[in-house]
């Protein structure tokens, strides 16, 4: 097949353009928020707490944060639905009136990158809000994990910005704190894909 033919063929299936979720997404997206696979409530459960801020440091009350990651075993168990229909390792958290979100979920184990390397425990995070024409992508890691130093994705993030991707532990608890800053000082690292 010639190069030209390939291009023409792929041009038939150009991905549909993204548009904002707008201010009214709760109408359609709330019913699957705060729900999860029955597998999540185990001894490996942690709580993730955070707030979302805009360029002025104002909280963002009309955002939605989605988390995707491996199970505590390190397997991507959510590639099949659990018995209740919900995939493990996925959580949808709309923000509250002060831009806050919090939830409990199984802490992901170290997981294969797919190229022979191992990733530190993390979630991939999708961020949606009024004002964003496309969702943004980031990742959250956990303070105190030795594997963070070897993680293949953290390694491509400029060292001086890595702290924006690491949730801080409340000592002696299973609570991790992680804020999302959309713009300005300590702006969270967002990815291109």
């Amino acid at each position: 097949m010639s190069e030209t033919t390939k291009l023409n063929d792929s041009a038939k299936w150009i991905p549909t353009s993204s548009q904002t979720v707008g201010p009214y997404f709760r109408i359609g997206l709330q019913s699957l928020a705060h729900r999860m696979s029955e597998l999540e409530a185990g001894p490996d459960a942690i709580e993730i707490r955070g707030k979302v801020f805009d360029s002025e440091g104002e909280p963002v009350p009309d955002a939605m944060v989605e988390f995707w990651g491996a199970a505590p075993t390190g397997a991507y168990s959510g590639v099949q639905p659990g018995a209740n229909g919900f995939p493990a390792g996925f959580y949808r958290a709309p923000t509250g009136k002060d831009g806050e979100f919090s939830f409990s979920i199984g802490k992901p184990g170290p997981a294969p990158a797919g190229d022979g390397r191992i990733q530190a425990p993390h979630f991939l995070v999708l961020f949606f809000a009024r004002g964003l024409l496309r969702n943004m992508l980031t990742r959250v890691y956990f303070e105190g994990e030795p594997a963070n130093d070897l993680d293949p994705v953290l390694a491509v993030v400029p060292a001086e910005r890595r702290h924006t991707l690491i949730a801080r532990a409340d000592k002696g608890t299973k609570i991790y704190n992680w804020n999302i800053v959309l713009q300005g000082k300590d702006e969270t690292v967002f990815f291109d894909w």
């Binding site: 991905p15 353009s17 359609g28 019913s31 639905p81 919900f86 491509v156 690292v189």
Partner: protein, 238 residues
Amino acid sequence: MASSINTVSKPVAGTQPEFCFPPYVSSVSRSPREPLVVLPQTLTERTGPVFGHSILQPGDNDLTMQHRGEALGERIYVHGRIVDEDGRPVRGALVEVWQANACGRYRHKVDQHDAPLDPNFTGAGRVITDDEGRYFFKTIKPGPYPWGNHYNAWRPAHIHFSLFGAGILSRLVTQMYFPGDPLQPLDPIFNSVPDEAARQRMISHLDMNMAKPDYALAYEWDIVLRGHQDTPFEEARR
């Protein structure tokens, strides 16, 4: 259904909006200013959540009959196929929709537009695609509505769509528009997509083959999700 391993390539130039698009005013204070970091595609990116049919309730895909009476407005069917960048059907994909009522009013506390609410219309639906990647809804045609972006700003009629594809990077939230709507060229959200052909692909088309005589019109809208679905996950692990 289990997820496939999915690999995405860079979007074709001009077919996706930029994060900051000043004519859409609220994009200015909410979009990043630091450079984006190119994301390596590990198994986290190449897999994604899969939802089972047990999350659906009967009637989830008929927005006209979710209350005691039938919703007011122009009854329509909305249907189409969801495929990946190779044209392969995306099977078992969760599709969630939400929309304004026929008068252009959302059932949401933030919507203060002085248009009537319809007690028989919530405006939310969900469905999971079949083995050919098809989805199907029954609803009413939403009305256009004013918003505060600029003086005399009105959104063209649209239905919001949220989709989960084969891997998490194929996740898409978008809006479906209707043919012949004169508000589209005036709308900064519609115009945020630079490429003219890509903008036009957000517009559904009237489908008289699916329309039901003396009952409902139909609109067809196909969706292409990012990514190339590879071998099923279970095989890839071996």
